[in-house]
């Protein structure tokens, strides 16, 4: 059995420079939700329930750094679809769909969304394109046998338990696990693991984005608060300035 874990390179959400000077370029990392997906796939392999974990990403040669990080965590081999265009979720889902047809994994585990655009669409679209069952926002995965997986989903109303037949798409939520740190031996091993480079042509697909991002802007800045001396002053301000009383 084989698990395919697609992952995305995103600007490091913990990089303090992102919020500060606009000139700095934050370093790229594996999307945190995808890192959780990688971790879960590795744990499933370590329990002996699958024999191989294959990583995949889309991007220019620069994302090889994140691929090496995934290989260092323990992913067996990786595939990079060489494409440097700004792709929308549907284009990404179509590329991954073609890759799934080629690799024929039993399970695809991926983050529920990327932290850079928060689209939360690729997993669902991929399931739709393949006609596979899907379990999204998953916080627990149990393999019942070689054909069924039980997943606990985090929904607005509470925890929902679903059972899906394999092959299936599973998208991960934050509480599924805590990803491991990369070890030095892991890093050394990662250097010798293969990265296969493919193009959309080689996958036999022609994608073009259906949506275009027109602009991205920071939310308007909020003015700093002020300290009031007394309750009376607070009430006066609430009445006259905020006009909420």
């Amino acid at each position: 059995m084989k698990i395919l874990v697609p992952f995305k390179s995103v600007p490091d959400p913990n990089d303090a420079t992102v919020a500060g000077a606009a000139v700095s370029t934050p370093k790229s990392v594996i999307n945190p939700f995808d890192e959780i997906a990688i971790e879960e796939a590795l744990r499933i392999r370590e329990r002996g329930e699958v024999s191989e974990v294959v990583g995949a990403t889309i991007g220019p040669p620069a994302v090889d750094e994140q691929i090496r990080a995934a290989l260092a965590m323990g992913v067996d081999r990786a595939i990079r679809i060489d494409d440097s265009r700004a792709l929308d979720p549907y284009a990404v889902a179509r590329i991954l769909g073609a890759l799934v047809e080629k690799e024929a994994p039993h399970v695809v585990i991926m983050g529920k969304q990327a932290v850079d655009d928060d689209s939360n669409q690729v997993g669902q679209m991929l399931a739709g394109l393949l006609g596979w069952p899907q379990a999204t926002f998953v916080s627990k995965i149990e393999f019942l046998d070689k054909t069924r997986v039980r997943c606990t989903r985090e929904t607005d109303a509470g925890l929902e338990v679903v059972e899906v037949n394999l092959p299936a798409i599973i998208t991960t939520d934050l509480r599924l696990n805590e990803p491991r740190y990369v070890s030095l031996p892991g890093l050394m091993k990662a250097r010798r693991k293969p990265i296969e480079i493919l193009t959309c042509d080689q996958l036999g697909i022609n994608v073009r984005p259906l949506t275009t991002v027109l602009s991205v802007a920071r939310p308007p800045k909020r003015a700093a608060g002020t300290r009031v001396e007394s309750v009376e002053e607070l009430i006066t301000k609430l009445k006259q300035e905020a006009k909420v009383l």
Partner: protein, 96 residues
């Protein structure tokens, strides 16, 4: 023929508030609209939808649709849209 199809969300008792936002948005966009509701045992909810000015209320009521599972729902929604050749789909995801 309705120009928009609005997917109505519900909690099995009543229509969720976000669906009302979708109806208001459609009215602002103009044109006719139809409402689509999926689930099982929907008589009460379907009756409550009649008064929202839609050109049609489409009810997909089946035991297989009791639980809101994405693959089944997507098949029904896509099918109902293709049948009527609608231009827009309006749904909502978050129950705000």
């Amino acid at each position: 023929m309705a120009e928009s199809l609005i997917l109505i969300e519900h909690d099995r008792q009543q229509v969720k508030r976000t669906s009302l936002h979708a109806i208001t948005l459609t009215r602002q966009l103009g044109g006719e609209y139809a409402l689509l509701v999926l689930g099982h045992g929907l008589d009460g909810i379907a009756a409550s939808l009649v008064s929202y000015g839609a050109s049609a209320v489409v009810v997909a009521d089946d035991p297989a649709l009791t639980e809101p599972l994405a693959d089944r729902y997507a098949t029904v929604i896509a099918g109902s849209g293709a049948k009527a050749r609608r231009n827009d789909y309006l749904g909502n995801f978050l129950d705000l």
